[in-house]
């Protein structure tokens, strides 16, 4: 078929184009410090990441203890780019293979139901763990110790909800999308339309954060300009999804998860090797490290506490250095525990396996991979703090996002300098594969909602043959991908730190209540779905818009004033003739500009109306309440009568996958 040849030719062209983009020789000097991995789920509740300069004592500002070694991050471009090329090559061959198998809508959206439980488990892990899990959390641990570890726990516990409440019922009652589950016993058109809007909203928030993070990360790692990085990543992402659909996306995610786990294991092994595999000695080293002690002393001094020596070292293993607002933590915890199960790209993974048993198995495998990864992350984070010192990590990136990468370079170089380069290049390519895997999953979820729910079922009343459905899916993915690239290009300077929190908030307050009530409550109906989705989504977005996540010029100015005062005091204290370090001089100049800022946030506020960064604690109950109230106010006899069918189907798998032909 000429069409198929065209596809293959086009995908090869894309490979070449992408490689050309990736290798565009432009010696942009990586700008350390200016590029936090904004995509980081590490960012909800991470003021440091959002405003590095103001919040952190710069290492130069500290009367530095003995400067043992200079910490730098320099990727070897030749090795790194060759590894990128290998990853692009492998994934593109997967795409060519997958494209040949993608003939029907079921192939495109659900890989024909032909993914095994084990494969799906790896794919879920690959879909879920973003560059932020990979770089952000170990960075948090390397700078704030215990709090970083505590932060990672919720990301695993979230899967208990997925396992017990949504995975198997969704496999049994659904087909390709969230809309399929929700429209079963309701009025399909409005419900599908709202479900699609919510899916697109969640995916867009998450995708934007990922794209901006990807651009900045690639710029920092291999020195390609931000825009080139976005276009390169975007082209690959579109290539995977448009041509290979779910099959290619799944395999890209599996490959990524495999690479990520290998990297984490290898690096942890090297870290443990240094302490002769004695984990107690490892922790003792943390407490005894003079650099960590000094770092902690400065952190707690800001809260007016004086700690020195081993007490300060011990404090690194105790909570409260980073996560200071318990209510915000609980709120984030709620959004994680309920939101993961409402994420369209995660839900969609359960339609790729043939049975509920396979869905169950896949969640359990994913839990071991994800949990194992976070446990290793502890070793990496603490290992970075010991071997690189927090001061050294901050000097490369104030948010700590580069800790794992520098650690790989340092640990590798201790064996042989070339091994340091290779190991760093390997981890950079893991980060690259990670970005590709996550963004592809998101694009696929958003396109499925638009093509399957809105085009096929709302516009065409479900009357579209397989060929038309696949074409619609491909065109939609192309459009969604291009829009994603455009948003990424436009959002370079935007504050995207809150978008991941927002995605989880909408998923937990909008999607999850209506999914659970649809599956388990007899009286639930059309009105309930619509009011639940609307109120949950609007409440989440609204609360984030008036939360401290937004930029408040007057708050920034107030912070800058303090910096100016501190630095001027420092300058005054200097012996005559001496000047501030270059870094301090720059910080002072920037603070003097920021000091003049005035005006209001996007919403016209001088200060936040809602003091939490994570709206879940308010928006989740609101979402549930609205869904229940809506259903009770407009009861539907048909929906109640059909509950037996839904309930029997989701528990037994009878009549599976033909679920929407009623």
């Amino acid at each position: 078929m000429t069409f198929k040849k065209l596809i293959i030719a086009a995908s090869l062209t894309l490979t070449v184009a992408a490689a050309a983009f990736a290798e565009e020789p432009k010696a942009a000097v990586p700008a350390p410090g200016s590029a936090p991995v904004a995509a980081a789920p590490a960012t909800p509740g991470a003021p440091v990441v959002a405003a590095p300069g103001a919040a952190m004592p710069t290492p130069a500002a500290a009367p530095a203890p003995v400067e043992k070694k200079k910490v730098t991050l320099k990727a070897n471009r030749v090795i790194t780019l060759s590894m990128f090329a290998v990853i692009i090559g492998i994934t593109m061959s997967v795409v060519v293979w997958a494209a040949k198998q993608t003939k029907s809508a079921a192939d495109f959206y659900a890989a024909g139901g032909g993914i095994t439980g084990t494969q799906n488990g790896w794919a879920i892990a690959g879909d879920y763990m973003s560059a932020a899990s990979f770089l952000g959390i170990s960075g948090l641990i390397s700078l704030y110790g215990y709090d970083g570890f505590m932060y990672s726990v919720g990301w695993l516990v979230a899967y208990i909800t997925v396992l017990l409440i949504v995975a198997e019922p969704c496999r049994n009652a659904g087909k390709y999308t969230l809309g399929d589950i929700l429209s079963f016993r309701t009025d399909p058109k409005p419900v599908r339309a709202f479900a699609a809007i919510s899916t697109v909203a969640v995916s867009t928030f998450y995708l934007t954060a990922q794209m901006v993070g990807a651009g900045k990360l690639m710029a920092l790692l291999v020195g390609v300009p931000y825009k080139t990085a976005i276009i390169g990543v975007g082209i690959l992402m579109v290539g995977y999804v448009v041509f290979g659909g779910m099959t290619a996306t799944t395999w890209v995610q599996i490959i990524k998860a495999g690479l990520l786990m290998s990297g984490a294991f290898l690096l942890s092994f090297l870290v443990l090797l240094k302490c002769n595999f004695n984990i107690f000695a490892f922790f003792q080293t943390i407490v005894d490290s003079p650099d960590i002690q000094d770092h902690v002393s400065k952190l707690v001094l800001k809260d007016g506490v004086t700690l020195n020596g081993a007490d300060a070292g011990q404090r690194f293993l105790e909570p409260g250095l980073f996560l200071k607002n318990p209510l915000d933590q609980i709120s984030l915890g709620m959004a994680l525990v309920l939101g993961t199960a409402g994420m369209p790209h995660i839900l969609m993974r359960f339609f790729t396996v043939p049975t509920a048993q396979a869905a169950r198995k896949s969640v359990i495998i994913a839990m071991f991979i994800i949990g194992g990864f976070y446990v290793l992350t502890t070793l990496l984070g603490f290992g970075a703090a010991i071997n690189l010192t927090p001061q050294g990590i901050i000097s490369v990136d104030p948010g700590g996002n580069m800790a794992t990468l520098i650690l790989a370079q340092t640990m590798g170089a201790e064996i042989a300098p070339i091994f340091g380069d290779i190991f760093l290049a390997f981890l950079c390519s893991v980060a690259f594969a990670t970005i590709l895997a996550v963004v592809s999953g998101l694009v696929l979820a958003a396109s499925a909602a638009i093509a399957h729910d809105i085009y096929v079922n709302v516009i065409k009343d479900g009357h579209a043959d397989q060929h038309e459905q696949v074409m619609a899916a491909r065109i939609t993915s192309l459009v969604v991908g291009v829009v994603g690239i455009m948003i990424g290009l436009m959002a370079e300077k935007a504050n995207v730190a809150h978008l991941v929190a927002l995605a989880f908030a909408v998923a937990s307050s909008g999607n999850l209540p209506v999914v659970v009530l649809s599956l388990f409550w007899r009286k639930f109906n059309t009105a309930g779905v619509i009011s639940g989705l609307l109120v949950g989504t609007i409440a989440s977005i609204g609360l984030v818009m008036v939360s401290p996540n937004m930029t408040y010029p007057k708050t920034v100015a107030a912070g800058a004033k303090k910096v100016v005062a501190a630095l001027e005091k420092k300058q005054a204290a200097l012996p005559p003739g001496a000047t501030l370090s270059e870094k301090d001089t720059k910080a002072l100049a920037k603070a003097k500009v920021d000091e003049q800022l005035t005006g209001t946030s996007m919403m016209g506020l001088e200060k936040p109306l809602f003091t939490l960064k994570n709206p879940g604690i308010i928006s989740i109950p609101l979402g549930f309440f609205a869904a229940i109230l809506g259903a009770l106010m407009f009861p539907s006899k048909r929906a109640e009568e059909m509950f037996d069918e839904v309930y029997v189907r989701q528990n037994t798998g009878l009549g599976m996958a033909k679920a929407i032909d009623h």
Partner: protein, 103 residues
């Protein structure tokens, strides 16, 4: 493929299905609530019982660290336990029910 017509209401009344439904619901929601409570004890404890979290247990390793680490093992343990019960009980009941219906 012609879809087989099922009498859903009748299946829902079937004693086997009622048994499956009760067992499943008690297990799923019960353990879900347990795991959520156990999880939220972590941020709540870290914020409101810092003294407890500081208690050293083995060398410099404190209760807070052990508790956070235990979250992983509790989650994994629960996942495996669920798999065990589901494979043994829920799947068996489902199979018996389906066999009965097809007879």
């Amino acid at each position: 493929m012609a879809e087989r017509k099922y009498d859903w209401a009748a299946i829902a009344q079937n004693p086997k299905f009622v048994e499956l439904h009760h067992k499943k619901q008690a297990f799923l929601f019960g353990w879900w609530i347990f795991s959520s409570v156990y999880y939220f004890l972590l941020p709540i404890g870290a914020a409101y019982a810092p003294g407890l979290f500081k208690v050293k247990m083995i060398g410099v390793i404190n209760f807070g660290y052990v508790f956070a680490l235990s979250q992983f093992f509790v989650s994994w343990g629960l996942a495996l336990y669920y798999a065990h019960v589901a494979n043994k009980d829920f799947d068996r009941l489902t199979k018996e029910l389906i066999d009965e219906l097809h007879l």
